[in-house]
Amino acid sequence: MLKIKNLHAKVGDNEILKGLNLDVKPGEIHAIMGPNGSGKSTLAAVLAGREAYEVTDGMVELDGTDLLDLEASDRAREGVFLAFQYPIEIPGVSNLNFMKAAVNAKRAHQGQPPIKAKDFLAKVKECSSLVELDGRLSERSVNEGFSGGEKKRNEIFQMAILEPKLCILDETDSGLDIDALRVVSKGVNAMRSPDRAFIVITHYQRLLDHIIPDFVHVLSNGIIVKSGGKELALELEAKGYDWIKEEQNA
């Protein structure tokens, strides 16, 4: 589904990704871990199409479509979804209007007519109950005055509404208490399907207790230095990252 080859990216003069390779197949969950500053969030931003990041080399394909050629909005319509580490507050734009515009943008892209009001509201109801998001929150301005947990649940709510092919979760567990972590994970697990893939970026093994990955990758200094199964996360939790660096240097 997603093929990343030799990806190089920089912000300003600072090269952050230095030849990253990753292959994600439908139905898989890939966890990406790694020390601070290793390039995890940069990878998420580059995949979603953030303009501040400049790709200097390499390729990214989603089901054969060159993503790097597309604007952020077109990537989203092709099925890429980024759950933000720090969701943005947009006063004055209602969460529901926002989602409706997004759903209809995708439908137009697929040659479908705008969603019927009734169907949309049913979808909203279903998705907000999935992440236990208070109905009133879905009617308020996007993320405005939401608590940290509510913002993250709103990300998963949006993900559920938009039904993307590729979900990228950028430190969705940061700032969550245990209950919120459980709710968010439940939402993600409910969305697992043979056609959908996840890239879960996290610092902590605890998220992976709830969202069980098929693969764990360690990103360090802009490349993936080690890959393994879910047990790699446990090993990292116990031993930190230094042993990998030593292994690299050896």
């Binding site: 604007e71 909005s73 989203a76 947009i90 926002f98 515009a101 997004a102 943008a105 892209h109």
Partner: protein, 399 residues
């Protein structure tokens, strides 16, 4: 027809950039033109492309002026107990209002208006009368090098309430000057709502000045929308003369091309326990230029005043600019005055967030603009007017 050859020889000198109030709104080009007033009969209809009622669906009483001349056939005056509404030219000598404001004695623009004064609306709302529909004044400028000088007078007696809409339009290829003054006095416990919309094609120098005097416990609520206009200067002066007045005045402007929009406001608190709330928002596109100047005076006797002022501007394109200046002069010690003034760009983080959900850049910006304007526009009393303004903005900017 009066050719205004003497126009620039008025007693007061035309403003120049040397004066602070006019520094960013030069009128040199206007001063080089030869303008005339137009008193011709309205025979060939009002306008080819502008309907007498510019707001579809708005049920309002209507006074229509073409180049400053009242058109009774297109107007629909209210006939109701306690309401006097007629063109100023038809008011008898003994009922004629006494214009009190000093604008015509101190400013070139005001003096011109007084010298060449044409017609206008005379509206008096008697005690405890609430007019059932808004009164819409529609002013059309139609022709080359036309100058028009309307002057309106509104008096709301105790407990009365009225909503007045002043809409100015101009047909394509029109040019000249619109110089309009509205003077209102609002008696104790009465309410005046005023919406002023400039939606002019052509190249008009548009000067409009409102002078509002508020008595004890009266309410004034105004919205100023510059929807379209080549060169527009909105001046609003509110004087709170009694205790406990409430003044709300909001505005929005979204100039594009090489348009110029200037908003000068003055809120003068002279008595105790008054509140005022001012919110002006602008988005500057193209190579447009803008000015915001908001003065708030709190005089020594105006204790317990609560004044709020906010001016937020987005400069959307590289060639656009705005000069914004809040001015607060506070001479009382037990007051609350908050103000904020910003000039910025579209929030790139918000834009990316919207785009990351599949909304393209244009639609994402439209959502942000709508949100930006919501606080200003949502307070407009009439839904039809609100929708019409948004419709024109949408069509203009291609959202």
């Amino acid at each position: 027809m009066t050719v205004l050859t003497e126009i620039f020889k008025s007693t007061l000198p035309p403003p120049t950039r040397k004066s602070e109030r006019w520094k960013y709104s030069p009128i040199a080009k206007l001063l080089n033109s030869t303008l005339s007033t137009d008193s011709s009969e309205i025979d060939s209809g009002f306008s080819n492309d502008i309907p007498p009622n510019p707001v579809a669906g708005l049920e309002a009483y209507r006074l229509v002026f073409r180049n400053g001349t009242f058109d009774s056939s297109l107007s629909d005056l209210p006939v109701a107990k306690g309401v006097i509404c007629m063109p100023l030219s038809e008011v008898s000598a003994e009922d004629a209002p006494e214009f009190k404001n000093t604008y015509s004695k101190t400013e070139w623009v005001g003096e011109l208006n007084e010298s060449y004064q044409q017609d206008g609306m005379f509206l008096k709302i008697a005690r405890n009368i609430k007019l059932d529909r808004p009164v819409l004044i529609h002013h059309l400028t139609d022709g080359k090098d036309v100058a028009s000088f309307p002057r309106h007078f509104v008096r709301v007696e105790e407990g009365g309430e009225v909503d007045v809409v002043v809409w100015s339009s101009a047909s394509k290829n029109s040019s000249g000057m619109y110089n309009g003054i509205l003077e209102a006095s609002i008696a104790p416990n009465s309410t005046l709502m005023l919406e002023k919309i400039c939606n002019e094609d052509g190249e008009i120098y548009h000067f409009s000045h409102e002078n509002i005097i508020q008595e004890r416990d009266s309410k004034f609520k105004m919205h100023t929308f510059t929807v379209k206009g080549h060169w527009v200067r909105n001046e609003l002066e509110i004087i709170s003369r009694g205790k406990g007045t409430d003044s709300i005045f909001n505005g929005a402007f979204l100039p594009t091309g090489n348009e110029h929009v200037d908003n000068h406001t003055t809120m003068d608190h002279t008595s105790t326990d008054g509140t005022s709330s001012e919110l002006y928002r602008g988005i500057m596109y193209g190579t447009s230029t803008g000015v915001f100047n908001g003065k708030v005076f709190v005089r020594p006797d105006a204790q317990r005043t609560n004044a709020f002022q906010q001016n937020t501007n987005i400069v959307a394109d590289r060639g656009a600019s705005i000069n914004a200046k809040p001015e607060l002069e506070i001479y009382a010690d037990d007051v609350k005055c908050a103000h904020g003034c910003t000039v910025g760009q579209f929030d790139l983080d918000a834009l990316f967030y919207l785009k990351s959900r599949g909304i393209d850049e244009k639609a994402a910006k439209a959502l942000l603009v709508e949100a930006f304007l919501a606080d200003v526009i949502s307070n407009v009393p009439s839904t039809e007017l609100r929708e019409e303004i948004m419709k024109i903005y949408t069509e203009r900017h291609g959202w």
